[in-house]
Symmetry: C2
Subunit: 301 residues, 2 copies
Amino acid sequence: MSYDRVAFVGLGLIASSMFWAMRRAGMGAHVTGYARSEQTRATAREIGLCDTVCDDLASAVRAADLVVLCLPVGAMGEVMAELAPHIKPGATVTDVGSVKRAVIEAVAPHIAPGVHFVPGHPLAGTEHSGPRAGFAELFDNRWCLLTPNGADTAAVAQLSDYWQALGAKVEEMDPDHHDLVLAVTSHAPHLIAYTMVGVADDLHRVTNSEVINFSATGFRDFTRIAASDPTMWRDVFLTNKDATLEILGRFTEELFALQRAIRTGDGEMLHDYFTRTRAIRRGIIDAGQDTDAPDFGRKKR
Amino acid sequence: MSYDRVAFVGLGLIASSMFWAMRRAGMGAHVTGYARSEQTRATAREIGLCDTVCDDLASAVRAADLVVLCLPVGAMGEVMAELAPHIKPGATVTDVGSVKRAVIEAVAPHIAPGVHFVPGHPLAGTEHSGPRAGFAELFDNRWCLLTPNGADTAAVAQLSDYWQALGAKVEEMDPDHHDLVLAVTSHAPHLIAYTMVGVADDLHRVTNSEVINFSATGFRDFTRIAASDPTMWRDVFLTNKDATLEILGRFTEELFALQRAIRTGDGEMLHDYFTRTRAIRRGIIDAGQDTDAPDFGRKKR
Ligand SMILES: NC(=O)c1ccc[n+]([C@@H]2O[C@H](COP(=O)([O-])OP(=O)(O)OC[C@H]3O[C@@H](n4cnc5c(N)ncnc54)[C@H](OP(=O)(O)O)[C@@H]3O)[C@@H](O)[C@H]2O)c1
Ligand SMILES: NC(=O)c1ccc[n+]([C@@H]2O[C@H](COP(=O)([O-])OP(=O)(O)OC[C@H]3O[C@@H](n4cnc5c(N)ncnc54)[C@H](OP(=O)(O)O)[C@@H]3O)[C@@H](O)[C@H]2O)c1
């Protein structure tokens, strides 16, 4: 069974990609959307994002069977408090936030009896944001993790079918485990990339134009990661504090061990370490989450 | 003036890319090649890499006007000692090693009077290695840094023309400054990526299959970097020890500051930091070293 009426609250990269993927899948649902700023609503209207773009939250969600919160994690609770009275009984509320425990704590208290809350997180994104950044293929063959936390099984199954129709593979996970897994695979790597780019920017003996021109492989990938939306990432780190700090602690320990190997000239330790990390790459390619095509920074547009 | 006879010593990713780029440019030079293992020589013959693949170093370099050392940095001195007596007067020796001071120290003592030594480093590569990994476009629009260190200016100019014909842009740099710039833009980022992938592999509360399946953006790019050749990278870190350790020290300081901001909930500091790092990305795209196309891990093959 598919949803008849879907409402997107927040009209950025994720919401617009979901909308285009719905259209591509031929879903007949009527789609409403709301964004905080006049400008984003105007852009949405201009590019045909949503059947109806509403100027207020209440009108956007009133008739919806599915309400999707596509906001920065830190904004979810406040916005949910405002829209809660307008959600119809039997509807499902979900979100796409990159952190799950904090979203559950912020949103669940505002969920009325008879409304289903099924938190979710599509593991797909780019370094771009805003309504124009979306595209229908974003979720293809990517995972969407649902953390139902005791939600109604029929509501979970319906949301799972919906995400699969958008191209994603779906798995259920405990919210705390989700936050730990993402701290490893996404949150800590982002902080590390931001840090390295910050160091380069700060180093006066190497000019910024040298950094920019000679960014070669390695650094170039870090700058892409570190170009992601500052608000989104501030919220991710503030709301997934414990897991992120735990992983960064381990990272620092391990980095010290490698630094020591460099200092003492322990080539064998370095070679063994670098050989071990290669295997993980092979696994990711085999799992279809990346291609083996050499990346030399000039992909087809 | 272009070289009549070019010899590649070592037939991996870089040598084979140079060879295909020479062919693409229509250079008429006769190209000889030598690799340490029987297997690599057989592969080179099979794929038509070099006009003549030689079974010994002396035959490969004897007639060459240009000898290109395409070996791991740590192997350059030893191999150069062996081939030095066979290089003809007036010839130019260059290398493509990722570190320059250590290569100069290892190679220069073996350069006979009348032979020109012009160290070089093309800032282009992929995570793949070996003779089959090469392709003609690798150097297009990328920088090749030469660190002539007092070499004959005519020899430097000739090598610069050669690299430009392979598609590269050429700049001269002091070897120590080269090693510092590369520590920032390449060596430290590689060590950091290796470390993060190692942490993920080690963490028993998150399974490897979770890491692999949910690698999303962020971590996925790290695994590509951390899939690079272990021998090459061991040698880079051991031979560019001081600059790498200096940058890693700064990195750790900076990471601690960001960790503290997360721990104390200083969202403003995080937001400002992440906003600043975005500008560098813009600079790299404007400099033509990457595209602005969204990267979501499924580039065209
Ligand atoms: N980008 C990724 O790679 C990615 C991947 C997976 C999950 N996510 C998650 O998806 C969510 C949305 O990300 P996105 O990339 O789609 O973001 P985005 O492109 O920046 O869009 C964010 C939307 O939220 C609205 N918004 C921002 N702050 C708000 C506030 N305080 N109150 C009300 N509305 C507010 C914005 O409205 P205005 O335009 O009017 O300002 C905009 O419509 C985030 O929770 C993020 O963690 C992102
Ligand atoms: N890959 C990059 O991204 C990149 C970018 C710029 C510069 N570089 C530099 O380019 C150089 C070559 O890199 P590459 O990527 O072309 O490497 P590669 O594909 O691994 O090829 C290395 C070649 O060196 C030979 N070799 C290795 N160890 C040797 C030894 N101890 N004695 C004699 N020959 C030995 C190998 O011979 P066998 O095949 O017979 O073992 C092989 O032919 C390195 O100095 C690297 O720092 C690399």
